[in-house]
Each structure stands twice: as structure tokens, then as C-alpha cells.
Symmetry: D2
Subunit: 485 residues, 4 copies
Amino acid sequence: MKDRKILTGEDYIQSLRGRKLKVFLMGEQVNEPVDHPVMRPSINAMARTYDLALEESDLATAMSPFTGERVNRFLHIATNAEEVVLQNKMQRRLGQLTGTCFQRCVGMDALNALYSVTYEIDAQRHTSYHARLKEFIQQMQYHNTVIGGAMTDVKGDRSKPPSQQADPDMYLHISKRTKEGVYIRGAKAHQTGCINSHWLIVMPTLRLQPDEVDYAIVGALPVEAEGITYVVGRQSCDTRSLEGEIEAGNAEFSGQEALIIFEDAFIPNNLIFMNGETEFTAMLVERFTAFHRRSYVCKSGVGDVLIGAAATIADYNGVEKASHIRDKLVEMTLLNETIYATGIAASYQSQVTSSGAYLCDELLANVCKQQVTRITYEMARLAQDLAGGLLVTMPSEADYRSVETGPMLEKYLRGREDVPTESRMRILRLIENLTLGRNAVGYLTESLHGAGSPQAQRIQIQRQMQLEFKQQLAKKLAGIEESRS
Amino acid sequence: MKDRKILTGEDYIQSLRGRKLKVFLMGEQVNEPVDHPVMRPSINAMARTYDLALEESDLATAMSPFTGERVNRFLHIATNAEEVVLQNKMQRRLGQLTGTCFQRCVGMDALNALYSVTYEIDAQRHTSYHARLKEFIQQMQYHNTVIGGAMTDVKGDRSKPPSQQADPDMYLHISKRTKEGVYIRGAKAHQTGCINSHWLIVMPTLRLQPDEVDYAIVGALPVEAEGITYVVGRQSCDTRSLEGEIEAGNAEFSGQEALIIFEDAFIPNNLIFMNGETEFTAMLVERFTAFHRRSYVCKSGVGDVLIGAAATIADYNGVEKASHIRDKLVEMTLLNETIYATGIAASYQSQVTSSGAYLCDELLANVCKQQVTRITYEMARLAQDLAGGLLVTMPSEADYRSVETGPMLEKYLRGREDVPTESRMRILRLIENLTLGRNAVGYLTESLHGAGSPQAQRIQIQRQMQLEFKQQLAKKLAGIEESRS
Amino acid sequence: MKDRKILTGEDYIQSLRGRKLKVFLMGEQVNEPVDHPVMRPSINAMARTYDLALEESDLATAMSPFTGERVNRFLHIATNAEEVVLQNKMQRRLGQLTGTCFQRCVGMDALNALYSVTYEIDAQRHTSYHARLKEFIQQMQYHNTVIGGAMTDVKGDRSKPPSQQADPDMYLHISKRTKEGVYIRGAKAHQTGCINSHWLIVMPTLRLQPDEVDYAIVGALPVEAEGITYVVGRQSCDTRSLEGEIEAGNAEFSGQEALIIFEDAFIPNNLIFMNGETEFTAMLVERFTAFHRRSYVCKSGVGDVLIGAAATIADYNGVEKASHIRDKLVEMTLLNETIYATGIAASYQSQVTSSGAYLCDELLANVCKQQVTRITYEMARLAQDLAGGLLVTMPSEADYRSVETGPMLEKYLRGREDVPTESRMRILRLIENLTLGRNAVGYLTESLHGAGSPQAQRIQIQRQMQLEFKQQLAKKLAGIEESRS
Amino acid sequence: MKDRKILTGEDYIQSLRGRKLKVFLMGEQVNEPVDHPVMRPSINAMARTYDLALEESDLATAMSPFTGERVNRFLHIATNAEEVVLQNKMQRRLGQLTGTCFQRCVGMDALNALYSVTYEIDAQRHTSYHARLKEFIQQMQYHNTVIGGAMTDVKGDRSKPPSQQADPDMYLHISKRTKEGVYIRGAKAHQTGCINSHWLIVMPTLRLQPDEVDYAIVGALPVEAEGITYVVGRQSCDTRSLEGEIEAGNAEFSGQEALIIFEDAFIPNNLIFMNGETEFTAMLVERFTAFHRRSYVCKSGVGDVLIGAAATIADYNGVEKASHIRDKLVEMTLLNETIYATGIAASYQSQVTSSGAYLCDELLANVCKQQVTRITYEMARLAQDLAGGLLVTMPSEADYRSVETGPMLEKYLRGREDVPTESRMRILRLIENLTLGRNAVGYLTESLHGAGSPQAQRIQIQRQMQLEFKQQLAKKLAGIEESRS
């Protein structure tokens, strides 16, 4: 990392240059991700988190007790419910501005979860992780870095725990210990924005057993650390970025997912925040996922874009006043605001932890995420309904630009006569982008599996649903005396 | 009203005696509703709002700036978002404790809406409604009364506005004006808890046209005012209250809905809070319904009871560990918390009005209510699924008590051997009560139509959905220049 | 049974008289069910199956190869797919005519299932059940009787099989064997129309283990057989039949569910159709439930009534042309026809069994029933939406008839001015009847649990879903060679 | 068309060569579509309709009364219900075999609809269209051609009818009439498989007004007719066909959609089947869409592939026995069979027309299609749920083949140890193909808009829902006398 504070999006983009990462994409090594047309849109999205901090600083920065300055909210530890809510409001705004996953939440959620968990480990085990973490956070705030959280192991055979996998590397683990620190081995899958980050924090992905000590490692590494390889995920329509601007649908912004492979990468002692305390892994996973599941409120920002796009194509087609069209837009709004409201409620109902940091409501956070896994798909269906069939039968931008077919398309792809054909094509490509194409990945499938697949939320809801309390309410009203049953 | 402050539920019940109301139920005049077995459960539910204030005073009372004392929260004007949220928390709690509609919200929502609306009328029209209202509220707080809000007109032919109805009384209106006040005529339908109230506030039910001045009347009357007749609604299984306690399902609590007919009832000037200002009727309706739609959070409290009952019957049947049973309870919890979260978010996002009173977020309030209209029905279906068919084929309590059939039923209606048959019967009757019976009325159909039928929420959502802003977001990402379309 | 052929509905009603059944309802013994106002509507519904056979004989009768005459279709063994389909068409028609459960399907489905199963038992075990059954069917056809199928045991602790229940009577079983026949003991719950039947056929309710021989009994008994007690289920709003005609909602027709207790009732050898062949119990249950699950097509007939009622109240309210009203009626139609279509497809895809009788498609039959468990509830919600809140707040018929309140209600409960108030009240009571009241039992809860609760259908779907075949389809298209995985 | 009968898929592919069509794709003219890697998979899918006729001739051929020989079922006029049903069974089978849209249905549905409509035009207008059509069909059957039906106009401003569009060419119309025939002008959008066809039949897309005579043209043209330009639609992930085989997901098969532009193309008199009879356009549209909407049963075949793929990935991940996994496969099966059953019921309930040809049930056909518009999206969501996040984060085939990253991916992308990593990648790419990629176009968006957008089905359902009949049913049960209201 360059030794200066990153301020603007442009600063950020420059800060990524020349890191000599080992990145692979579509069979080739990428020397400079910043200049790769397929990767650049994901970098632009992350950059937006910097510029927003300058444009709307109340929303996207917070006063840090560690630095005494306003810092980017993505690097801030929330110490009251209002601040937790503001994370959500910032996330919705960034979803509106980028129409995609801007990738910086995972670090925010990891720092906020680790802050309270390290405090509790130290209290019980007399370790000093919390002080180390504070020091680390202070540095990050000072430089205004991007931190990627690396949690999801590749898992191998899902019916088996880490220690019973045929290949021990299916879960990331310590491969060697030295006086200076530890070496780690394994891989983390589905790593959002990792190549666009400056630092990675590795964390275990599930509740570990006492004999799985080597898997209980939390620590930070620079993205360019030795021994790390990145293989970028191949996604729907990603190569459209190599074609025309219309074709891309959303030419400026995209998400990014990669597989990270750690081959004996090193973490020095001062950057280790958990080392073998297996009994705290469940707490870490639960707190991190609580934060992160509620972070899916960002999808309501993307949903705003989708609603806007659907309303626009209806308008361009001349049907914006039909009652069934209006009603579908109302339904989309109802669903989209349900995502937002469940997230806001989860954040608002935050409780203080012993560290002083606030933790969102775990039950509602899981409710938020579970709703996201259903609602975004229904939103996509409704948007495609409003778009009309041209969404998937429209000729290419190249045909539109061609002298042979361009005039025909100009004529026949026109909707309302006062709307340029190109505008109609552009809005359709945006809807395609969000529902089938490159940003459908983030809006749909990542909404399903990010921060844990749907069943993971159901398990958490089951743990939190207080059946006994509710059974007592019911028995009282039914006139069943406790002794009776 | 008796000249003393009502403290306990028991005080409240006594306060209702001897009012000589003109109440009809099932073809007969009811001399003393308090003693009528069909009506009493609804009075018990209202009484619970008094006892809760004593048991959990942080939750159910608030410091009044008007009296300088803690007053029942149902009579309090919320002047910050936290207080609006606390209304919701109190509502959920009362839903949990009663398993029905406790009927006191409509007054709370009416006072809170009128507080800001009268302020704005006065500011523009130089009237003095706001001061009158404050005086009225202070009195109510002092005596700790129940206020019923009377908004819904009978409406006649819904395709016609008030002034074009064949019968002008289809909407409540001023029938005579005197120096001392006004006389009103018409009827209000679906009046929740009105007979259990001490005072009624009448309000117009829709946006009025400039020539509909006589319909623009807001004012307070004591429930026992001359010229008022109450006809209680006939509801599913209401006569079960005349039979055994098990049979009732929830023997202690129920809701209450009545038709109120005003035949030239009088409102003195000091109790008139709007009189002809038709241009403010829309504002009043919107603010009141915003508050009241979010008040449907109470159904998450009733939902807690239903979840508890469903979990109990699963337990009694010996299937509580089956994965599909657990999953249905998770689904119910997910849905129930979605109601809660949307309400909480609406309340939390309250904004200050020029009067200083806070107004909940109108969009989210409508989202909350619209979700309630769907979710409660799905909850009921899931609860019936978990209950099993015995829910609707179980012999009566009388058969269970009978010497001839009792022993057979004791034997054959038993589920798990260690659970008394009677407990199993009781919990099934509670589920029947909530999904088909007396309290299904409040949990389902009132959830659908109370505070406005589903389409009314959709119209409000449409008004609030900010399509233009969202279209701009989409156009920007699609690369459509404003001038282009 | 009287020694003459029953022709008309009236004949049928007379045939039920004087049987001296041991019937209990609401704590009292019912001497003559035919004359009991709460029970009579269920008898009227059954009677409708006789009259329909006279009115629409192509639909409701079939040529019997056993008697050489046209017989009621409910007593006919279908020997081609068209006849199986015609059962469904008759069922929908009766649903339309009665708006409730007409109770005669279970016998039809039992005979059709037993016909093929007894054939296969005989083929393998050299028994003579099939010939006995044919003889029995011929007698039934000749006399035109009603047969009730009695399958569902009370089950006790659902986590335990019959042989491990604390009380062995939780599943019906043979209590004594003599040369002349067997005595049975136990109880059958949720027995649709049993008191309105002439004969009962008892059948095991689940797949039995080899050591559960005494539970593997199938045989016929007259309803009036010694040792049988009937306790009628207490249902939502059933006592409305004791009040006014409007109040009942559907005064003429209802369903009927009872608990049947067998205390050593006797079945002579010639009426025994299975006796200890435990290995055939699964086949019997599967075939019977396949037929019976598809029989829920009747709910599309009831759905037609509900759609008609919803359209009528919209019309009476003056809103029948609003687009959202029309759209909800379209949605109801879509859902209702989906029930119908899945049933028809299941019947049409019937396959011949070795007995020559046709068996409907088991997968589609389960699909039909599972859809019914969801669709009817959504239909009810939509109908309540269209009905408006008056559905549950409307004063009683007695108030409407009263001189004191009648005129007020006449005035204020009127919708469109050209529609009598009474008509509006009647249609609302019908919707209440179907969605909360007496016939909601059959339309909703029985739709959920009748012929097996939802999970039972899912288990059958799982058994039939041919995953291996589908995996091969997918692997082929994905280019996965069989040897590879 | 070559002067010989096409028998095999290979024959068919050869028959397409050398036609010198004017086809454009991604900005370039395609000289020989057969050899274009992006177009070839769609040709393979069509070819499958030929091979199936040889492999399963009972299913995919029928005896033609016109040629006296068995002909491909896609070219056959169904003259009984069984034959209409067999169309559906063939469609499901082809969906299973190709996992995409095989494109030949539109011609089948057009011929079957035109057969009865031309008969009725002739009967009323004394024209001779029917004889011409029969002659044409006989020729088509003899040569075993592919016929594309061209119905959907580009429509311009959807708020305006054809005659009021700013540009008259927004709907296809006759531009010139001569003694020998007519010239047509305009464009047809979303034309499934048109380039893969031998003949096109143009048809009006909506009910025309009496003064829109020039738009009322039905006729046949060879695909290679002068004056026709084809611009192929640009679809999600279509260029994956230029990359590796794994990457394509389904390398062998795809759909095809193009825009067809007619610039004064000629139709000779003997190939004109309607010419100005505007009053028959509604009948044609309704009959064609009835057939075609029910044809969406093919999606249940594609659904079989998706279920198989989802089950396979669950198996590869080692979670195939988890109860929630099984339940999601059951849900997919339930939904998929609902599509199938509604289609089968629509076909089975076909009625004879005066021409002798059978017409499927219009109400149920619309129900089938409407269900398809919802079910396929829910199926896709469930399949993505079962797939896991790797679905959208998996590195490319090129990375898997690369020496640098291949071994890492081989190791880390493995699920169950006994399953080759490549198999896991392949099945994930197939699910991506069906839910986001190239065949998601046909499975999802085309399911939504093909044969008319969702609202078009709702309008048809509204027309067919027989409200008056249903209102009478309800009024009778409610005791409302006809004269009363």
C-alpha cells in the first residue's frame, strides 16, 4: 500500500496499480487489473465508495474515536444503533449509484464483528487480539484502505467437517507456525472484490470442533502477499465489456468474484486476531453473518435502479398508464421496500456488546437476508414482464451501428415516436444486465448465496425463534396450566 | 365519564357500567354490555391496555408534556421517533397477551394525526382547532379514557362520491348547525371497540371536494351521547362464548366491531377539530392511515401466539422434531418478523411535523399494512397445516364433558401419551379461534380491510414510489442522456 | 338398508330414517339425524348426488358391467380413462351445486382402489377377496347406497407406529377372530359423511410392518352395526343452522365430519376384503390416496361458487369494473382452473391395472392435491378482499329483522341503490360461510388435510419424481459421460 | 427447398445450406448460418425434431389424411383430442432432449389454427383459402419442411392501433397488390427459429378494425424470398459458443430469435390464406394463441433437465440427502408437473371445429401459459439455490485447462471426492445456461412473453371466466332470488 491517504475514487484506482498480483482470468494472467476492460467496471464500483464519502459525508463517513477524524464509514466501528442504521442507508445509496455490488461491505462487517469477538476472547483467554485489531483498524482508517473479508472455504464434500475431508486443504488452515507468525494454506471461494482490496482478513467459515485448532485462524494479509493466487470467476455476459457500451447494459459498473488460493502465505503475529480459540468460531460466524446478512439492504438500492428501468421502458413503449403496468411497479416497490425495512429494523434494534461496539439484531438480520433471496428474483421477473420480449431478442449494438442494418433497426425498434431508438435499446440492455447479464450475478445469485445460502438463514432463524416463550403465550390463552403439559 | 382517573383494568371495566348505551346484538338490546358474555371478552382485551401500563410502564406509558405525568401511551402524542417505535412495541406485546385486537390503537392514531393536522389548519386558516385538541387530549390523559376513532363511512355505491349518493347519509355529515355546535347524521361501519370506548372522534373517510363542506367534520362525542345507536357485528363463532370455555378457544379475549348510527348527535364547538376545511381532509386521511397501517404490527404479537400454538400442537402430536415441521415454524417466524420489521422501520423513520409531533414514514407504513394483508393468511394456513385435521373435526367440549362420550374422547383424542387430552383439545380450539373462529376476524379479515383495504395501500404506495428519481438512476447507468428522452 | 333401490334425493333422505344410530353432537345423543337442523344440511348435500344422477345422467351415472344397468357413478368401477375423468367432472358439478363437501367421493375412491388391490392380493396369495368385493359392489349398485370409506386412524403419538403405541387401539385392529368373521376395535377420525352413509369400509391408514397383522383389515359394515358410536365434529359456525337462513350463509348444504368408535364391531367373512396381508397395505393406501387426492377437483366447483359470490358482491358495491377488481377475479379463475386442470390431467393419464380397472396417475394426483392445499387459501383471501370489511362486521339477521334496528340496517347496509340490502347481506354471509364459517371447514382445512396432509403428498411426489432419469437428461446435455461420475 | 423429402436431422441441416439468406448477427452478415458457431446450436435443436420422428415415431409422427403417410407431427392437423395431447407429449420430450426451445411449434400451431379459421372464412365469405391451405399443408408434409409462424409485429407505440402509428410499417401490411399476388412491408419481431425454417407464414398480431384491411394478410413465403432481411437477436452468453464446450453449458443446443424485415416481399395468390377479412383476425389470433400457449408445456421438458441438473449438483456436493434439499426438488417437481398438467388438460379438453380439426380449450390454454410465466422463474431460483454460489463465481474453462491454474482448480473446485471436478463444473455451467445464460432466454424470458405477454393471457382468461354463470351458482346458494337483484 502506498504511504498516503486515499481520498478520491481516482486516488483509489491509482493505489491499485503496480501491485504485481497473481491474477488469472479466462485462461490468462492479468498483469494490471486496473487496465483490464472486464475487471475495470468492478474497480469503478469500489471507487464510488470513495467519491460518495466526499459527496455525502454525513452518510458515508463517521467520526473515528481512533483517529479523531472523519473516516470512511466502511472502516468505522459502530458504537450506537444510529450508526448501524447509517451503514444501511449508505449501502442503499451506493446500490442506486452503481446498480451492482460495490464490494466494500464485507470488510466493514468483518471489522465490526471482530471488534466485539476479539474483546470477548481476550476477556476469557487473556489474549491481546483486541488491542492488535484496534491498531490495525487505526492504520486502515488512516490510509483509507479497502479490506476484503475472506470467509467462505471451498468446502469439498459438504457432508463432512474440515477435519474429515479427503484433502485437508478444503478448509483454510495453518500449515506452519513460527515465532514470527503463521503460514496458511487452503482456498477461499466467492471472494467479493478481493482483487480490488488492499488487505484481506481471513476467517473460519463455520463452528469448529476442539480438535480443529489449525482451522481457527483469523488474520490480515496484504492482497499482494506472497503465496496468494487469484482466479477471477467467469460470469454471465462479462465479455460484453469488450464489446460496445450499449451492449454492456451498465458499462461503468460491475461486481467481482474470485477464488483465492493460499499456498503457505504468511501472517505476522501482530496481524493475527484469533489463533486456535475454536470455541469462539461460532460467535464470530454468527456476528459476522448477522452484520453481513443485513448488509443485503444494498439490493434495495439496486432494486431502485431496476424499478426505474422498468418504469422507463414502460414509458418508452407508451404503456406507462395502463393499470396493470402501474400495479406491477407498485408490487416491485412493495417488495423492494420490504428488503429495506427489514434491514433497517435489524440495524435499529442493535444491542451493545461488552466491547462497546453495537451488534445488529440477529433474528431480523436473517429475516432481511432470507427475504432478499426471494424478493430479488420476483423483482427480476416483474421487470422482465414490463420490459417485453425485445429484452432477449434485440439485435446487437454492432447491428445498430452497422450501415446495412442500422437504419432498419432505427426504424423498427422504435417505441414511442418521440423517444430515440437508442434510448430504448439502452434501457433494455440495462434490464438484461440486471436480470440475466453481468449484474444479475450480484442482484440475483449473490443475493441468494452471499453471506450464507438460504438454508443457513433458516437455521439461524430457528435458533432465535423463541418457541418456548411463544408456546407459553399460547398455552395461557388456551387455558392450559403449565402443570398439565 | 366518571370524574376520576382510571388506573387498572378493573377500574376500566367498572367505568363502562351504567352508561345506558343503545346497543343491539343478535336482535336484542343489550342493557349492560359489561355483563354480556358475548361482549365481555372484547372488554377484557381493552382492559389489558390498562394493566399493561401498570406492569410494564416503560413500554405502555409515556411522560406527557400536557399533564406533567406519565400517561397511558395510547393517549400520548409522540414527539420523537423512539416514541413512535414504542407504540409498535407496546402493540406487539398486547397482541401476545390477548391474541386478539385490543382496540385502543385507533384512538392513539387519531390523536397523533389530528395533532399535526389541526396545527396546519390553524396556521393556514387562522382557526383554533389545535388548542381545542390539546385541551381535549389533556382531559383524556387526566382521566385515562379510551377514545374510539370513527372514520369509515358506510359508503353506499362505491362508484359515487358522497355528494352523489342516492341517500346523502351514506357519508356522515353535518345535518344542522347552531351557535353551540353542530349536529351530525350518518353511520360509521366497522367501528373497532367503539362500545368499549368513552369517547368517539368522528373523521371523514376520504379526500373531499370543495362543495362537500358538510362532510368535512371532525369532532368528539361521548359514547353515550344522545342520538347514537350501536349495532354489534355478528362474527364467526361469537356465540361460542355462550358455551364452554374450551369451545371458545380464547375464552378471555376477543375483538369488537360495530356499526354506529348517528341520528342528529350533537358536537359542541369546543370539541370540533375541523369544520368544513375540505382541503385538509386528504392530509388527515393520509396521516391517520399512515399511523394506523403501521399499527398493524400488533398482528405480529398475535402471530407469536399462533406460532406458539402451532409449535405446541406439533409437540403434543409427537412430531415437533420432524424437519418439515421445524421448517414451517421457521417460515411462520420469517413472515411474522417481516410484519414487525416493516412496522418498526416505518416508525423509526418518522419525521417531525410543524406541530412538533412525529409522523411515521408513509411509504413504509403502507408497505407494512400491505404485507399484513398477505402474511397473516399464509400464517393461518401454515398453522392449520401443523394442527392437523382434528382442528375441524374435533367433537365439542360438551361431548368431552359428557359421561357417555367423555371417556371415549379422553382415550381417542389423546396424542402423545404424557399430554392430557384436554390440553390437546384446548390448543386446537385456540388455533381454530385464530384461523376460522372469533379471533380470525381480527387476525385475518380485519388485517385485510382495517385501516383501508389492500388497494388503498397500493394507491398510497404508487403516490410515494418516486418513479422519476428512480428513472433517473436507471437512465444514468444506461448511459441515456436526459436530452435524449 | 331398506330392500329397495334408492332413486331420488328424497328417497335417500328417507332411507336414513329409523336406523337408531348412536350419534352424539354437542353433548347430546341425536335420535334422528335427518331431523336435526345442524346435521340436515350435510344430508341435503349427499342427497344432491342422487338428484344429479337423474338430472344429468351422462355425467353422474355409468353403465355397470355388474348389473347391466346405469348406476350412480359414485358406485361404478372405472375401466377406462374417460370414466376416471368423468368422476372429476361430476365432482366439480356437485361442488358448484352445493358449495360444500357432498361426501360421496371417499366411497367411490375406496371401491376403485380396492378393486385392483384385491385382484392383486388374490393373484399372489390365492385368496378370494376380489370376488367378494365384486359381489358387494353389485349389491351396492343395485340398491344405490352410500358407502363411507374409513381410513384415518386417530394415531396417538405420531412418532410411533401402531404396534408401539401406549394404547393399542390408537389404530383400528382385529380384537377377536371367529369362524364367521372378525371383531374390530379402535377409532377412525375425520370421517366424512359417515353418518350419512349406509355402509362403511374400514381400511388401514398406512404401510404396515409384517408383525402388524391385526391392523391389516379391510371390510364392510353397515353404518348401523352394533358396537359403533359416532361423535360429530364441532365446527366453525355450525350452530348458525339453528338461527336464521341468511345467517347460515348456505342454509341448504354443508359437510359432515365425525369420529367413529368401533367397540368390537363385527365383520362377517364375506365382507372382508383384506385380512392380514400387511405387504399390500402400502399399495392400498397409495392407490386409494391417488384416487382421493385427485378427487379434490371438487374444490374447483366450490371455487366457482366463491368466484361467483366475489363477483356478485363487487357488483353490488358498484365496483365491478375497477381494474384491480377484475384482476383479482382473473387471478381466482387462474388458480381455480389450475386445480381443475391438474385433476383432469391425473385422471386422463390413468393406466389400466391387472384387474382391468383404471388407476389415475399417482404423481399428478398428488400434484393436484398439493395445489389444492395452497390455492383454496389464496382464493379465500382474494374473496375476502373483494367482499370488503362488512364481511365480518355485519350485524345479524335478527337485527335486520328487528323492528328497532331493521330500518337502520336496511338504509345503511345498502350498497348500489338498485340492489336490495338483503341480497347484499346474503352474498356476504355466503362468502363468510366459505372462508370462515361452516363450509370453510371443507373448502379450506379439509382441503389441507383430507386425503392426507400436505407432507404426505410431498413424500409421494418424492417417490415418483424419477430423479435418476432427469439426472441422465442433464448429464447428457452437460457433456458428462456416465463413467465420469 | 430442395426437391426431396427430408428424413433425418442431418438431411435437415443440409437442406438449410446455400440459401443465400440475408442474415445479420453482431454487426456482420452471416453467409452460411449452418456453419456459424453461434447459430449452429439452434439448428441442432430443430434437427432433433426430425430425429425424434425416427426414434419415437408413435410420439412424433402421425398418419396424414392428406398424404396417406405418417408425417412429422409438427406438420399434422389434429382431428381428435388424443392427437392434440400427443403434441404436448412430444413437446415435453423434445424439451428433455434439447434443454432449450426447438422452435418448431409455432408452425404446427399456425397450421392447426389456420385450418379451422380458413374453413370458417370460406363458409362465410365464399373464398377458397381452406383448399389452398390444404394444398400447402400437403406439400409441406410431403417434403417434411419447417414452417415458421410470423405473428408479432414490432408495434411501435403500444398505446396506438396499427392505423394510427406515426410509421405505418410498425405493423406488417400489404404495400402493393397485383393480379398475381400481394407485396408486404413491415417487420416481425421475436421470430423463433425463423432462419432455421423453410417457409414463413405471416399473420396479423391483433384484432383489426374494418378500416385496417391492408393489415389483414395471411400468407406463406419461402424463407429465402426476396425482400426479406433477418437480424439475429443478441442474447445472454451467446458468444460462449465461440469458447470452450464446458463454458457453453449446453454446447449442442440453443434457441434462436430474430427480427424479420419485409421490404415488399411477394406472396403469390395460391399462398394467400386471408386477405382483408379483418373480422376474422380476432378468431385467428385467439385460436393460434390458444394452441401456442398450451405449447409451453415444452418448458416442463426443459424443467426436467433443470431438476436433473439440480439433483446432480446436490449429489456432487454430498448433500443430496439433506431434507431441505429433497424438499426443494419436490417443490420443483410439483411446479414442473403443474405446467405439464395444465397443458395436458387444455389439450385433452379440445373441441371439434366445423372444419373437423380440433381446437384446445382456450381457457385452460391460457391458464397453462400464465402458470409458465411464474413457475419457470421459481424453478430457476430453486435450481440456483441448490447449485450454490459457485454457479456464478466459478473460473472459466480456459483457467481449468491452463497449466498454471488448472491443477489448483482441479483441487479446489472438487466437491465429493469421487466425482471429477470437471463433471461438477459442467453441471454448474448447465444450470447457469438455463437460469442466466443462453437458454435462460428461452426458459425464462420467452416463457414470459412468448405467445403473448402475461397480461394477454389475463385478458383471455377474463373473457372466458363465465362470471354470470358463477354468479348464478352463488346467488342460488345464498338464497338470492333472481328478481331481487
